[in-house]
Symmetry: C2
DNA sequence: TCTATGTCTATTGTATACAAAAAGCATGGG
DNA sequence: CCCATGCTTTTTGTATACAATAGACATAGA
């Protein structure tokens, strides 16, 4: 097995299980731990310098998060996402982002709208550079901003979760420069609809946005 | 503390953590463990005849399920649901049931439709009796049937989860006989729209259904 | 040679022991 | 009488010890 450099962010004063959880989650989302790879408790515990107990509890949490799959009496493996899974997840995401943007139409203040446009601009600027992680971050911020404006905590939580699950594939997807223009235009369309407070247009715009994302992620999976 | 009669369904050959998890979840959903109540590890472990380890792991799972809340260095307490939480959850549920019923319009076979109508009828018959649990069960089956027809595993999982979370309040809600007629008619409307394969009507019908549920649950909370 | 069985090892599942921190209570000083 | 401080108790957080099982490998018999 490749020697991953997992390392705890020991700075915080949280229960170890939470620190381990965040560490492993990051490792999975960033691809340090690859789909299909086994998570062995003793191994991880030694690497992280803790005992098995917090590692086990972190794995339980990853399991319910859908990031690992438990095989009874065999342990946890990093979850593979199949094309069919991705389609399912993105379909759900579409419905929820639609709800989010509609609520945002009602709730978003002028200031929030300005911030949103600024975020869209940051995203555009990032695309010109080479830093994929920064692009992804800017895009996440754009969507989170809309989401937060809904004030619906459950919606925020579920959408964050879904975004995290597909994060690795989004990253892959951003490598395709051909789609960059479209992405920028789609974000702009969402901003415009929000400015007009048109739930219909905003919903339509974001559904198109997610749909495109779905197609291009699936395409990039096939190429590999 | 009231002496709850928690008991493991030892029949199955699952890891204890899963058995404990299901047991505690049932206890919370059925109200045996009430909102605000503390879950103490040793106590539960002794009651269930296991050690603390599986109990702890079960609690971690309940935590990510939103059924308990962890207070650092204090332990877990059964989650309270506030009116605002309920509104949030039901808003999300509305969007997802809408998606589900639209997909069902596309996918549902004639046989499935017949089964659905049968389920609606069972629900109607249950309402005439006094068995609230049976009513709730019949209603759950009706919605699950639609959900399963979508073939979207993620959607099925999230909706099941949401339904479970509000189960206790639905039960409370079913006690109000005044709403029974409406419920039956709403189910019928959903069936009709599905038969006509009209996504628009089906979506509208189920959104109304969820919206009514929201109102009457919140009302019944205020009365208490 | 192939298969079946037995043993050994690696790894999870479970229990318990130990550490640390928070809450409650009592006692003493102001 | 009230408040603060320290002790005690309760409970979680963490580590480790022990049990059980699945998988691999080897060996023996057909």
């Amino acid at each position: 097995m490749a020697e991953h450099d997992l390392q705890l962010q020991t700075n915080e004063y949280l229960p170890l299980r939470d620190v381990v959880f965040q560490t492993l989650r990051q490792a999975i989302l960033r691809g340090t731990l690859q789909p299909g790879e086994r998570l062995m408790e003793i191994h991880l515990a030694q690497k992280l310098g803790v005992s098995r107990t917090p590692v086990r509890e972190a794995i339980r949490m990853l399991e319910l998060d859908g990031l690992v799959i438990m095989v009874p009496r065999k342990g946890a493996i990093v979850a593979e996402i199949t094309v069919s899974d991705l389609e399912d997840v993105l379909e759900v995401r579409g419905a929820l982002e639609d709800l989010a943007v509609r609520k945002a139409c009602q709730n978003m203040t002028k200031e929030q709208l300005e911030e949103l446009k600024a975020a869209a601009e940051r995203f555009e600027n990032c695309l010109k550079g080479e830093d994929l992680l920064a692009c992804a971050q800017a895009d996440v911020e754009f969507h989170e901003m809309i989401c937060r404006a809904t004030k619906n905590r459950r919606l925020i939580q579920i959408l964050n979760n879904i975004r995290e699950q597909i994060y690795r594939y989004r990253l892959e997807n951003l490598k395709d420069k051909g789609s960059h223009e479209n992405l920028v235009e789609e974000h702009a369309a969402i901003c415009r609809a929000l400015e007009q407070r048109s739930e219909e247009r905003a919903g339509e715009a974001i559904r198109v946005h997610i749909e495109h994302q779905k197609c291009s992620i699936i395409e990039s999976l096939h190429i590999k």
